[in-house]
């Protein structure tokens, strides 16, 4: 009897590992993509219809709702700082010495003419906190086996009501995303590449964002350096730090 039960149990465990639930997949994706805190420098290469611009910045994120970004180049953008707390954003412009508050739908506007919105740029949401997943099938992306998962928002405060995500079966990292509005209209496409092991997790160093409602060839978001779960001084997330 024992000789039948043990192999059967082992088979069940192995099958379960091969066919995890959508929730388990999302949990593993969150573990790779999100962190309690992160500090990173990045380059946005914005391919507009008429030109290509590169904007460099350094960002500090704490949890889902607190973020601070300082723009390093080009000269026109240098010194511009943004602070996002919950659903409010403050922008400091050194040229005018002003702190300007932006909130509401403005947060879904493009950052610096890129294909990213302020929310895309400054938020680090745990998918599991906002979405319910459903596995739709399996597909290959760049020769890698992926789960195709549809995420449907279960909280009202998300930028995209539905997301279709292609998750690498081995590394549990999204390789492609399609982001949809409540109306079902496709808003953005993301292609995540240059997946590397960084501090014990898989993480994409390059993300191509394409706002499908916008002309141009999209925006490449390149991570130059990133540190996860590092302590960030509290004053960073205060309005006082904007003018420093």
């Amino acid at each position: 009897m024992k000789s039948i039960i043990i192999p059967a149990l082992l088979l069940c465990v192995s099958l379960n590992a091969q066919n995890p639930s959508a929730k388990e997949i999302i949990e593993k994706v969150d573990k790779n993509m999100s962190a309690d805190s992160r500090v990173f420098t990045s380059k946005m290469i914005i391919h507009n219809p008429r030109n290509t611009r590169t904007v460099e910045s350094k960002s500090w994120n704490m949890g889902e709702k607190r973020a601070y970004t300082e723009y390093l180049s080009p000269p026109r953008e240098q010194g511009t700082k943004m602070l996002k707390l919950e659903d409010q954003l403050w922008i400091f412009s050194p040229e005018t010495d002003r702190i300007i508050q932006i909130s509401g739908h403005m947060l879904r506007q493009s950052v610096m003419g890129s294909d990213l919105s302020y929310e895309d740029m400054m938020e680090d949401p745990h998918l599991l906190n906002h979405y319910t997943g459903q596995i739709d099938g399996k597909e290959k992306i760049s020769d890698r086996d992926c789960w195709v998962i549809t995420l449907t928002a279960n909280t009202p405060d998300v930028a995209y009501q539905t997301q279709k995500v292609w998750v690498d079966k081995d590394r549990f990292i999204p390789l492609k995303k399609e982001l949809y509005a409540k109306s079902g209209v496709l808003l953005k496409r993301m292609v995540l590449s240059d997946i590397k092991q960084i501090q014990g997790r898989w993480f994409p160093e390059k993300i191509l964002f394409k706002d499908v409602l916008k002309e141009g060839d999209g925006t490449e978001f390149q991570i130059e350096e990133i540190n996860f779960n590092v302590p960030i001084p509290e004053y960073i997330f205060s309005k006082a730090s904007l003018k420093k």
């Binding site: 026109r76 953008e77 702190i99 493009s110």
Partner: protein
């Protein structure tokens, strides 16, 4: 015979004076109304032309496709060279560069943080070069409500309604938040020099006017402009002339695959202007037809009355042996002469008054102050070539038709009864 009839009309005042007066008044009213309606159409079109459309507008092909979004990332570049070429090739046109933009106006509190904020539609026009054409076109000097026009770089005009919404006064600092031509964030401080009342709801709700060079600086649009608008010399939108310009422009700048090549649009081709012009023309046309028809009825009636008044005269003429058809023919000839005299005098009076209204206009500003559509406050008449002959429709045709119809009665009169009638 015509000379004989003319002498009769001039000598027998009883026979001619009343019909000529009636025709003159009818024609005068028709001509004045026609010129005034044409003028209203012209003024309404001109208002749109002045603020946004121009008589012709040049943009890039891509900008034209998305013109309602004010896509300055698709603006014309190398504008200096383009403008030089346009001025050489079309010296009769007054060309102006403009940047139409959207953004946020943010008002700081004492610590420099946001106190109030609102979305704005911005007009970047030439205010400081010394050429007052654009200031006049936007009627800014007369529209100033508080403060003054911008006199130096860094000053901004705001609609009065918008300034009240944001609680700002002349002298206060406001910040424009917009997007540069290359998509970067543009944040610039300006001093509010004055507030204006444009008199049109859409512009009064939330618009700002800034000098073109200031806007170029803020939106990183050096040697670029969203639009170049052109105006015909006498500020009158003449479709024929405008179409000629388009033909010449298209020869100069043939169609190309380049998305950023300049393309030209007439006022009619922009937004819903074509439809609007057609509708106003249609309404104007219907009004003129109704009026001309009513005047025709009046003059027809006058012709009928004339026929009845001369009942005895015609009876006598028949009694002394004049032929029915001869009497009828002379009546028609007489009515033609009366119609011509009345139409010429009515047209002369009507055109004189229309000329005065064309030059001075009628100020309906007090009635129009709460209007929510873009309508001018002063309405001018407009004399067109049609005004010189529109009066002939009621003046000549109606009089003749009226006389012709009343004259049919002559044929029904029986010669045997004529003496009885005359005795009575």
């Amino acid at each position: 015979m015509i000379r004989f009839l003319l002498k009769g009309i001039l000598r027998d005042k009883q026979r001619s004076l009343l019909p000529v007066i009636v025709v003159t008044i009818g024609v005068f009213l028709t001509v004045v109304l026609y010129c005034w309606l044409t003028g209203i159409l012209n003024d309404t079109v001109e208002l749109s032309a002045r603020f946004s459309a121009g008589h012709v507008k040049i943009t890039t092909a891509e900008y034209e496709k998305n013109i309602n979004q004010m896509p300055n990332d698709l603006a014309l570049t190398g504008v200096d060279t383009l403008l030089k070429k346009l001025k050489n090739e079309f010296p009769e046109i007054k060309w102006e560069q403009r940047i139409h933009f959207g953004g946020l106006i943010d008002v700081p509190d004492s610590s420099g943080e946001t106190r109030s904020q609102g979305p704005a539609i911005g007009f970047g026009i030439d205010l400081l070069s010394g050429d007052k054409s654009e200031t006049d076109r936007f009627n800014l000097s007369k529209s100033i409500h508080r403060g003054r026009l911008p006199a130096r770089p860094g000053e901004i005009l705001m609609s009065e309604e918008f300034s009240q919404k944001l609680k700002v006064n002349p002298g206060d600092t406001v910040t424009l938040i917009g997007s540069t031509m290359y998509g970067s964030m543009a944040i610039f401080n300006y001093t509010l020099s004055g507030t204006v009342i444009f008199g049109t709801g859409p512009m009064d709700h939330g618009s700002v006017v800034i000098d073109l060079e200031d806007v170029r600086n803020a939106l990183d649009m050096s040697n670029a402009a969203g639009e170049i608008v052109g105006y015909l010399p006498d500020n009158y939108y003449d479709e024929e002339k405008v179409n000629q310009i388009v033909l010449r422009f298209n020869k100069l700048f043939p169609k190309s695959e380049d998305k950023y090549a300049p393309v030209i649009m007439t006022l009619r081709q922009q937004n819903e202007f074509g439809k609007m012009i057609d509708q106003i023309k249609h309404i104007g046309g219907v009004m003129v037809i109704i009026f001309v028809f009513s005047m025709s009825l009046v003059l027809w009636n006058a012709g009928l009355l004339g026929g009845l008044r001369r009942y005895i005269e015609f009876g006598t003429r028949l009694a002394i042996g004049e032929d029915y058809s001869h009497i009828y023919k002379t009546m028609i000839y007489e009515s033609v002469l009366i119609g011509i005299i009345g139409t010429i005098s009515g047209s002369a009076i009507g055109l004189s008054i229309a000329l005065y209204m064309q030059q001075h206009g009628i100020d309906l500003g007090s009635i129009m102050k709460d209007a929510t559509i873009m309508m001018p406050a002063v309405f001018h008449a407009r004399i067109t070539s049609a005004a010189f002959f529109i009066g002939f429709i009621p003046g000549l045709i109606s009089t003749v038709v009226g006389t012709a119809l009343s004259g049919i009665g002559i044929y029904k009169r029986k010669t045997a009864q004529l003496f009885k009638e005359l005795e009575a």
